[in-house]
């Protein structure tokens, strides 16, 4: 231990800072669900018999179906991500970057719009099939739900897997290739090295699918998240709804813990150095799979984009729709950006707690699982319970939707930052502790560049998810303020396909622009750029 980190005074200050950080984190992330737990305790104390009414063979079956569906989406996404990411990994740098952003283009769209686009495209295909006298399958059921959900979340799975492959050290790859073929090295070294990213992707897909209810009704199937929503809708009782949500929370806990355990086990600190840039020929069968995966990824963007462009009308109509949504565009951009920025320190604090050991880490993982399973309307109701008191200044301001976005998406970002945190060589951080001459300088020169890939991924995730968020923000938007998502859903109900398409394209364009801006900022501060001649 050195002079700066070893003194009792320093240790107590450090404990104080850690306590302060944990308190801020608890206020932002845990206060809303804690308020709900309090309401739940009151409701349960008044009527303990309601648990028997709520838990039944029917709800158990719903939960089992939902778990199966979420697992199928996670599996589909992972199976798609491995060949697609391996193909992108070998693509030339510039092509890889362009393709990466192309595949991410529609990530900000809510799953409902993906469903709408696929149903539109499916109807056109069915009409063609019927005209040709062929069988036209019905656009409903579990298969379609799993497909569309997987397509909506595919960019996340492919992006994370690619990130894992890109972080493979060149030395490790070259050493593996000395003793075996590149094909074997890919499976024996590259994929295990990327396993945390793959697992994180599968875990995120599982959790996002499990808690989403917006698509199930579209394809005429029922999932447990919808049961939670209908309970809230029918009884208007947040406590009772939380009781219904508990089995889903319990189901997400093993998923979150398993993902975390894998991250801890596999993501040992690695040596810093140049990343591998492999050039070799894949086996024919794998190359075919890669092409099929890339084709599916192209469809993942092409089908919704094509359906939206075809229904968006002429450029003048698009311009009119965009001009009419100026305020909403400004609001959505503003709160999504603020959420992405404010979410980063929170995600980092949460990741630091999760990365630790002992009771704090376990409590962190429990809290994380609870937050991941919390349905959006309940998060909104919890926020109202926390902040809406006479004389409190926060309620009715921009901070409310911001808090809603942070409460909903920071846990996901924390998982990504945790992955990055585990990858940093602790010797570098210790060196920074010894030699730094100021926290800002140390932050900008050492920690931020080391953390930047994880922070970038986390910020992009918060940003894209925030642009399409509806369930929680709807409950806490200040009067007179509206977001693109609210306007889009209003037009969706009205049946204004042209405006819906225009607003969806605008949302995608906004997400892409903001994502590119983020990437440029992080590139600007990255060590690679500074070390370049």
């Amino acid at each position: 231990m050195n002079r700066r980190t070893g003194s009792p005074l320093h240790l107590s200050r450090r404990a104080l800072r850690q306590g302060l950080g944990a308190a801020v984190l608890a206020l932002v992330l845990l206060a809303p669900p804690c308020a709900l737990v309090f309401q739940f305790a009151l409701a349960f104390a008044n009527d303990p018999g309601q648990a028997r009414e709520i838990f039944s063979p029917r709800t158990a079956r719903l939960l089992a179906q939902s778990l199966g569906e979420a697992a199928a989406v996670a599996l589909t996404g992972t199976l798609l991500a491995i060949p697609a990411a391996s193909a992108l990994w070998q693509a030339p740098g510039s092509a890889q970057k362009r393709l990466r952003w192309f595949f991410m283009a529609l990530a900000p769209l809510p799953p409902t719009l993906h469903a709408l686009a696929w149903i539109t495209a499916g109807s056109w295909a069915a009409d063609l099939a019927q005209a040709a006298g062929l069988f036209a399958p019905s656009l409903r059921g579990w298969g379609w739900l799993i497909w569309v959900q997987s397509m909506a979340l595919a960019p996340l799975a492919v992006g994370l897997t690619l990130l894992g492959l890109q972080r493979l050290p060149a030395g490790l790859w070259e050493a593996a290739c000395l003793f075996s073929s590149p094909w074997r090295a890919f499976w024996k070294v590259a994929i295990p090295h990327s396993a945390p990213y793959l697992l994180a992707a599968a875990g995120l897909l599982f959790l996002l699918s499990l808690t989403d209810f917006s698509l199930a009704a579209t394809f005429q199937v029922n999932v447990y998240a919808f049961e939670i929503f209908t309970t809230f809708s029918a009884f208007h009782d947040a406590g009772r709804t939380l009781l219904v949500a508990l089995p889903l929370c319990a189901a997400t806990l093993p998923a979150a813990l398993l993902t975390g355990a894998q991250l801890r086990r596999i993501l040992a600190p690695g040596p810093a150095g140049q990343a591998a840039r492999p050039r070799f020929t894949w086996p024919f069968a794998w190359e075919m799979l890669q092409k099929a995966a890339i084709l599916i990824l192209l469809l993942q963007v092409g089908v919704p984009l094509g359906a939206l462009l075809l229904t968006a009308g002429p450029p003048t109509a698009f311009a009119a729709s965009v001009a009419g949504a100026g305020d909403e565009l400004f609001n959505s951009t503003r709160i999504s950006l603020l959420a992405a920025l404010a979410g980063l320190p929170l995600a980092l604090l949460a990741a630091q707690i999760l990365a630790g050991a002992g009771r704090a880490a376990w409590a962190g993982w429990l809290g994380l699982a609870f937050l991941l399973a919390l349905p959006a309307p309940l998060a909104g109701a919890g926020l109202i319970a926390v902040w809406n008191h006479p004389g409190w200044p926060v309620y009715g301001t921009l901070l409310m939707p911001l808090h809603a976005l942070l409460a909903r998406w920071t846990p996901y970002a924390a998982l990504l930052v945790l992955a990055q945190l585990r990858h940093i060589d602790p010797l570098l951080l210790e060196a920074e502790q010894v030699f730094h001459t100021g926290w800002l300088r140390a932050w900008l020169r050492v920690r931020l560049p080391l953390l930047s890939p994880g922070l970038l991924a986390g910020a992009f995730l918060i940003l894209t998810l925030s642009l399409g968020e509806l369930g929680a923000t709807l409950l806490v938007l200040p009067p007179g303020m509206q977001t693109l998502a609210v306007r889009l859903y209003n037009y969706l109900h009205y049946g204004a396909a042209q405006q819906v398409s225009a607003l969806a394209l605008l949302t995608a364009l906004t997400g892409l622009t903001l994502g590119l801006a983020f990437a440029a900022c992080f590139h600007w501060i990255s060590p690679a750029r500074r070390s370049a001649p």
């Binding site: 809708s233 029918a234 929170l346 909104g380 319970a385 009715g396 932050w443 859903y489 109900h493 009205y494």
Partner: protein, 338 residues
């Protein structure tokens, strides 16, 4: 833990940028009416009175329950002055939860007693009705059900009939009305048989409308605003009001409702807004926009795409229908959420 310090700076910056400007001459309205219909009406009020309107709109995706839950959660520290609902059940729920307070609009006497609360907590205006939308390219003239029981008739293929999820919105109002009219056992039996037949349960009335208009299904229960929207866009559809024959109970008419939120921050401007909403001019404006077609204040004949038709409304008090909502939802949850 340098993150702590950076976080504190960030939090302070956010607090500064989040400060909201306030105006004394304003009114906050929460509305579950589609923004495309509500916004022009509210803008007109703003232009006429100079009172700033701060609206919060609900969306179909939240099944019009988002704002009601928000109003209930905000009951101890209300933010809204007025709630304008596109139907009546949510307003009656707010009454039951003690979220509303009485008001005396200038035009109250013009509203039929069945369409207003006896204590003045809410008032109805500008009605819509439940209707069977039929695709005229797929279905020959007269070959459609004219009663709810007809939906169970094997002559009409079940997979070509669509309803919105009866747990939400106006479809849940319709279910409660059927429970009130038929009795619990008969109504439960009707929905069980409907489900067993394989009738399609779709994600909202607008989806029913779109699928009938495109011919994916042939018959669909929806609201007149959705149905007229399809007709106005030239879709090959016909509107059929159910239960209109002699001795039959009539079609459910769903009024818009407006009520003052208890303890709202701007009571004076709220009263002016309620007066404005409960005016024949607003009813006409909503009818002109294609949202409502059954005037309640003027008691005139249905307009818009229903022009010339006579509709016999269901002879049931809204309170009675509302009281059946919870028992109906308990049954329907078991029937439809398997």
């Amino acid at each position: 833990m340098h993150t702590c310090r950076s976080f504190i700076f960030l939090a302070l910056a956010l607090l500064v940028c989040a400060c909201a400007p306030s105006s004394p001459n304003r009114v906050v309205i929460y509305t579950s009416v589609d923004q495309v219909f509500a916004e022009p009406v509210l803008k007109d009020f703003e232009r006429q009175t100079g009172i700033q309107i701060l609206p919060v709109y609900d969306v179909e995706a939240a099944k019009t329950t988002g704002l009601v839950n928000r109003l209930i959660a905000e009951a101890d520290n209300p933010q809204a002055d007025v709630f304008w609902s596109s139907e009546f059940a949510q307003m009656l729920l707010l009454k039951e939860k003690g979220v509303l307070e009485a008001s005396k609009p200038a035009n109250a006497a013009a509203i039929p007693a069945a369409m207003r609360d006896p204590q003045g907590l809410w008032y109805g205006f500008a009605g819509r009705a439940r209707v069977l939308l039929v695709n005229t390219q797929r279905v020959a003239q007269g070959q459609y059900p004219t009663t709810y029981a007809g939906l169970l008739d094997s002559r009409f293929p079940a997979d070509k009939i669509g309803i919105a999820n009866p747990l939400f919105g106006t479809t849940s109002n319709e279910a409660a009305a059927l429970y009130a009219k038929l009795g619990q056992d008969s109504a439960r039996d009707f929905y069980q048989r409907l489900r067993q037949r394989g009738v399609q349960v779709l994600d909202g009335n607008s989806v029913v409308r779109d699928q009938v208009a495109s011919g994916q299904i042939w018959y669909g229960l929806t609201d007149t605003d959705d149905a007229c929207g399809a007709l106005d866009k030239g879709a090959p559809v016909r509107l059929v009001f159910l239960e209109q024959g002699a001795g039959q109970p009539g079609a459910l008419v769903i009024p818009n409702t407006v009520g003052r939120v208890k303890g709202g921050p701007n009571p004076q401007t709220a009263a002016r807004l309620i007066d404005y909403l409960l005016s024949a001019a607003v009813e006409e404006k909503l009818a002109g926009a294609g949202f409502t077609h059954i005037p309640i204040l003027s008691r005139a004949a249905p307009g818009g795409c229903l022009g010339g038709q006579s509709i016999r409304p269901l002879d049931l008090e809204l309170d009675i229908i509302y009281n059946w909502l919870q028992p109906a939802q308990n049954d329907l949850k078991t029937i439809f959420l398997q």
